[in-house]
């Protein structure tokens, strides 16, 4: 290695302790987005070199990573890798970082990229690396995230990845819902949650709630930062599962739902409380975030990454009141220019008189003609704008020439090198590229070359009326109309839904879409000790506020009781065999995900209600023995663990139904006589505290329990005294019963 690797002695001494035996921290930047959101601007340059505040996104990303003590960076490029290489060759970061460009023409998705990365085996297998999905701007020290990940991994080797999540943040059409186990920060469930069309329902497997799970769920408004700490297992897993394309939708869900892998994913909350330093981490995913992040940078959210302070491109800016940044290099401002911040004007730009610039960025060497208004627009380098133009919430590519009296509607994207003729009105959300639209499935008849004026149909005139005769460029179809880029697979991505894609565009207002505000209904009817029936939870937004504590002991659904009663009634009236009735009940219990206890209680209840209470004790005893002589086994077959519960349930039934109260002793006797209960079980019942009314809520209820208990107690006392006589018989009986 040439002497580039020299580190400052200060940093060395500071990090020596943990650097001696550790390899340098590695980061992987996926330079390709694997979607088409910036395509019109990226015809001749990669997305990572788009200028934000007239500095390429890659420079911002490298600066952000440098802040995080990253030493080695792999830039994984797809298209235009030569441009990325050229940029890195000339960037000052090659002195401080070990940057390597990996290029691949074949990778069509993030999954492919990781697979190729695995093939290249450039990563240190022992240490985790930082995976950056999109260009990021951050003042957060990501190495903290790495530390937390390592700590987690020391405890549990199965954590292969830590996803960075942030607190707060704006609403974004791609905000997932994450279910996290708070003490271990383990990610339990991941659901994509597009803003539009909003998904009113969301299903979370109830299984997740059964593991040791705290009664209270803290809910945060969090968002996915697109920064992951990955172990070497992650690329390896991608290689094993070649159908993983999207890291979130496929990989994360694949790992979470696969019992076989047994791997775990954690989340790391970038929090103000996690220490000093910034907590701003944002990534440029689409034109919408491009605009938002530009304004954030100008508002100094990413401080110390601010244009006047630590501008990665090395341009010097002067900060003026109201977050107005003017390059120190030969900017010409007219006396009548109105600047209202936050805005940035690049070096050597010239603004003519009566120009109004509002919350915009102008790149280097731009010129703006007189009486032109630029509103919330992002103008790249070397753009000429004529007089009396109005630009509104648009992105203007490099080298674009806009003649006089042009109106550019909001959300418009004008690709590099386009020329807009005099008086052109660019409609809202239009995309104009220098090249013809290349998407498959879009009829190329719709766009015609401007220059050849011959065989054009109506569509040409359509376009001509939009762009005017002296424009150069092609009008692209609206973004939401374009077919999904990956036909086999993207169709199922809820984020790629046309309505959701619209919201990713610059200039769209999220407040316009009608989503009911955040609400998640209480999981009030979650089942108890049974497993794996999906619960339906109503939800309609990206976050889970006010999620009430889960109450897991509410018993099965109402339908179960109805079904059970009907089934028992049939069995009773039609005199089914006990085995058949038991089978039917069991199926019902499984199907409804009810528990044994609920089933037994229900069966007991049913048969007790069939007893005749008229006549004296003798009659009642007779009917009890009659009913339970046959059905007692059914009851017993549903109490696998503790037969004493039968007595308790009977007692409960008697407490709940007043007519039965005086006859509890008799019923108990009947149960004993019909071998539904054995003597030992009755003694256990007598001695247990529940039977005496412990655990009941108020005094009154307890009194009734005790009263009923006293009805049954003499019987047990008598039985106990004659225990010696039929002890063996009872045992035999019990064994038979339980078979």
């Amino acid at each position: 290695m040439p002497p580039k690797k020299h580190q400052p002695p200060k940093a060395e001494s500071k990090t020596k302790a943990d650097n001696v035996d550790e390899a340098p921290l590695q980061a992987v930047i996926l330079a390709d987005s694997y979607n088409r959101r910036f395509e019109v601007l990226c015809s001749d340059q990669p997305r990572v070199l788009l200028p934000l505040c007239s500095t390429p996104l890659l420079a911002w990303t490298l600066e952000s990573l440098s802040l995080s003590k990253v030493r080695q960076v792999f830039v994984f490029c797809g298209v235009h890798s030569d441009k990325i290489r050229a940029f890195i060759e000339t960037s000052p970061y090659r002195h401080t970082l070990d940057i390597q460009c990996l290029s691949s023409q074949t990778a069509m998705s993030a999954g492919d990229a990781l697979r190729e990365l695995d093939d290249m085996s450039v990563l240190n297998a022992e240490n985790p690396f930082i995976l950056v999905h999109s260009p990021i701007i951050s003042n957060y020290d990501i190495s903290k995230m790495v530390e937390a990940h390592k700590k987690r991994r020391e405890e549990d080797k199965n954590f292969i990845m830590t996803m960075g999540v942030g607190l707060g943040g704006r609403r974004h059409p791609e905000s997932p819902i994450m279910l996290v186990h708070p003490p271990s920060s383990r990610l339990l469930h991941y659901v994509q949650n597009p803003l539009s069309p909003s998904q009113p329902r969301l299903s979370i497997p109830s299984q997740l709630f059964l593991d040791p799970f705290p009664a209270n769920i803290d809910t945060y408004e969090i968002w996915d930062l697109g920064v992951d700490i990955c172990e070497a297992d992650v690329p390896a897993l991608c290689t094993e599962n070649f159908d993983y394309h999207d890291l979130r939708r496929h990989f994360v869900n694949g790992v979470l739902t696969s019992e076989l892998l047994g791997k775990k994913i954690a989340v790391h909350l970038v929090d103000v409380r996690s220490g000093n330093g910034g907590t701003y981490v944002e990534r440029i995913r689409d034109t919408r975030t491009f605009g938002e992040i530009t304004r954030d940078v100008l508002r100094r959210w990413a401080f110390p990454l601010a244009p006047d302070n630590n501008e990665p491109g090395g341009v010097q800016y002067e900060l003026r009141a109201g977050n107005v940044y003017i390059a120190k290099d030969n900017v010409v401002l007219s006396r009548t220019t109105t600047l209202s911040g936050p805005l940035l004007i690049g070096p050597r730009s010239a603004l003519a008189h009566n120009t109004r610039i509002h919350q915009s960025t102008l790149g280097a060497d731009c010129s703006v003609g007189p009486s032109t208004t630029v509103n919330q627009s992002y103008i790249f380098d070397d753009v000429r704008i004529g007089a009396n133009c109005t630009l509104k919430e648009c992105i203007i590519g490099e080298g674009v020439i806009i003649s006089d009296d042009v109106i550019v509607g909001k959300g418009a994207l004008i690709g590099n090198g386009v020329r807009l003729g005099r008086g052109t009105k660019v409609p809202d959300f239009a995309r104009i590229g220098r090249e013809r639209y290349g998407g498959e499935g879009f009829d190329s008849d719709d766009e015609e070359d401007e220059e050849d004026e011959d065989e054009r149909g109506e569509s040409y005139h359509n376009r001509l009326s939009t762009l005017g005769p002296d424009s150069i460029g092609f009008l692209w179809p609206n973004e939401e109309e374009e077919p999904a880029s990956d036909s086999e697979d993207e169709g199922e991505d809820p984020y790629e839904h046309p309505r959701n894609k619209r919201l990713l565009q610059l200039g769209r207002r999220l407040s316009n879409i009608s989503t009911s505000t955040v609400s998640l209904s209480t999981l009030s009817k979650a089942s108890s000790s049974e497993a794996s029936s999906p619960l339906s939870v109503a939800s309609s937004a990206s976050t889970l506020p006010d999620l009430a504590p889960l109450s897991l002991n509410q018993g099965p659904r109402e339908e179960f009781y109805i079904e059970a009663r009907e089934s028992l009634l049939r069995a009773y009236e039609e005199d089914h065999k006990v085995e058949n009735a038991a089978l039917e009940m069991r199926t019902l219990v499984m199907g409804e995900n009810a528990g044994q206890d609920a089933a037994r209680e229900e069966i007991l209840k049913f048969f007790l209600s069939k007893l005749t209470l008229s006549g004296g004790a003798g009659e009642i005893l007779k009917s009890t023995v009659g009913v339970f002589g046959k059905w007692g086994q059914l009851v017993r077959s549903f109490s696998t663990t503790d037969y004493t519960l039968i007595a308790v349930d009977t007692q409960k039934f008697c407490v709940d139904n007043e007519p039965y109260r005086p006859w509890f002793g008799v019923i108990l006797r009947g149960l004993y006589d019909s071998d539904t209960l054995t003597e030992d079980e009755l003694i256990d019942w007598r001695d247990s505290s529940v039977s005496k009314g412990e655990g009941t809520k108020d005094e009154n209820e307890k009194k009734i329990w005790l009263e009923v208990y006293n009805k049954g107690k003499p019987l047990v006392d008598v039985l106990e005294s004659m225990e010696s006589d039929d002890d063996e018989d009872e045992d035999d009986d019990e064994e038979e019963d339980s078979e």
Binding site: R170, Y280, N310
Partner: protein, 436 residues
């Protein structure tokens, strides 16, 4: 200086410089003292290991580093202050060595008509001085020179001169003339061809001897920096009376040491403003109260209301300008103005390394170092700028306090009034270094 004076890109010193610049830019090193120490360490490294054949080359080298540090963070004036001081010290040491050389072997260089070549650091004009004005002793005597090795001695010198001024002595005139002539001489240095006449072999012979002396001198600066807090705190007893109520804010290490030192002899109460949004006041209040000092923490909004009960305002400084004004943690201006309204004295405790030969920095809008809005409006809720798009947040880190609001500077080298700061600065740094 000459192009040769700039660092080669593969030089380890260039790496070090670059690293310090980056960490200044990224705000990984903040606080005047930390910056000053880091700068001193860097320069010491450069002096130790860089290759230079003449003293001017070395000075040029250090100046070029200073320029880079200014670019990296123009608001951390301490970095350039330290550089200016080291430049001064190098000149002093060199002059002392040269003078010693003259004395030890005055005519040992027969090939030159004057004493010049044996004193290679001295350029032609000084020889010229010596030749034309023989009665004027250009060099102060060696004993005087040896006294000038550290800044504290400059102050001692100033005191002696102040006495002389008072006594109206003529010698004083001569002395001050000598200092002035030092400046003027050096101002002429770059333009004169004499620089080329320096015999580099001759210099190298000296530089071998000179290097440890220079390093030693820088070490003295570092030592002085490290003891700044204690030195400032020494005077606490004289400035704090018993049962005073003292208002302060932020968490200045100097103020903290000052109050703790003062509490050994006097019993007083400290009122700490919490200093939003950094809330440094919280940590100061905690530190003071755990030291046993009765401490009251107040929100910044109560500063004006509590001031009638306060007897003295003691503040720290980020940097002190030549006019006696200063930059201090934001909120300090509120304290100082409130103190002015209520006619309470404002005392600034600061090390002299924060004295910067700058006058017009406060005209620069960004000089107060705007921070991000995150700490003001928070990132939760609709944070990240979201939902608050229409609200602009202004969060300056520093306030500029005009000199007339300050009664006294308590420094590690005695107490001074704001109007005297320019004089101290003039004596501490060579005039040619004011513009690096």
């Amino acid at each position: 200086m000459a192009a040769s004076a700039t660092l080669k890109s593969n030089d380890p010193n260039a790496r070090l410089t670059e690293a310090l610049c980056t960490s200044l830019r990224r705000r990984q090193i903040v606080g005047s003292l930390n910056v000053a120490l880091a700068t001193a360490a860097l320069i010491q490294n450069v002096v130790r290991s860089a290759r230079y054949s003449t003293i001017d080359e070395l000075l040029g080298l250090i100046k070029s580093i200073g320029k880079k540090l200014i670019d990296a963070n123009p608001k951390e004036l301490a970095a350039t202050n330290i550089i200016r001081r080291i430049l001064r010290l190098i000149r002093e040491e060199y002059r002392a060595a040269a003078a010693a050389h003259i004395i030890s072997a005055p005519p040992s260089a027969p090939e030159t008509p004057f004493l010049g070549p044996t004193t290679p650091g001295l350029s032609a004009p000084s020889n010229h001085y010596l030749s034309t004005a023989t009665d004027f002793q250009f060099f102060p005597s060696t004993s005087q020179l040896s006294r000038q090795t550290s800044l504290s001695n400059f102050v001692a010198m100033r005191h002696s001169r102040a006495q002389l001024e008072r006594s109206g002595s003529l010698v004083d005139m001569q002395l001050s003339q000598s200092t002035n002539s030092l400046f003027t001489r050096h101002n002429n240095v770059p333009e004169t061809p004499g620089i080329n006449r320096i015999d580099s072999d001759e210099f190298m012979k000296h530089s071998a001897k000179l290097k440890p002396v220079l390093i030693q001198a820088i070490e003295e600066v570092v030592g002085e920096l490290e003891t700044t807090h204690e030195d400032v705190a020494k005077g606490a007893r004289e400035h704090i009376h018993s049962s005073e109520i003292i208002l302060t804010m932020g968490h200045s290490k100097t103020v903290e040491a000052f109050l703790k030192q003062g509490y050994r002899d006097r019993k007083f109460t400290v009122v700490v403003a919490e200093s939003a949004p950094s809330y440094l006041g919280h940590s100061l209040a905690h530190s003071l109260s755990s030291h046993g000092i009765p401490t009251i923490l107040i929100p910044d909004s109560s500063i004006h209301a509590i001031l009638p009960r306060v007897t003295k305002v003691i503040l720290g400084a980020h940097s002190v300008l030549a006019n006696g004004g200063l930059f201090a943690l934001s909120g300090s201006l509120a304290c100082a103005l409130a103190a002015k309204t209520h006619s309470k004295p404002v005392v600034i405790t600061t090390g002299q390394f924060k004295f910067a030969p700058a006058w017009n920095l406060y005209h620069d809008y960004a000089a107060v170092d705007f921070q991000g809005p995150g700490s003001v409006i928070g990132t939760t809720g609709n944070g990240g700028g979201g939902g608050k798009e229409s609200t602009e947040v202004v969060d300056p880190y520093f306030d500029y306090i005009r000199p007339e609001l300050v009664q006294l500077f308590v420094t590690n080298e005695g107490d001074h009034s704001p109007s005297y700061i320019y004089r101290l600065i003039r004596e501490a740094y060579d005039e040619e270094d004011v513009e690096l």
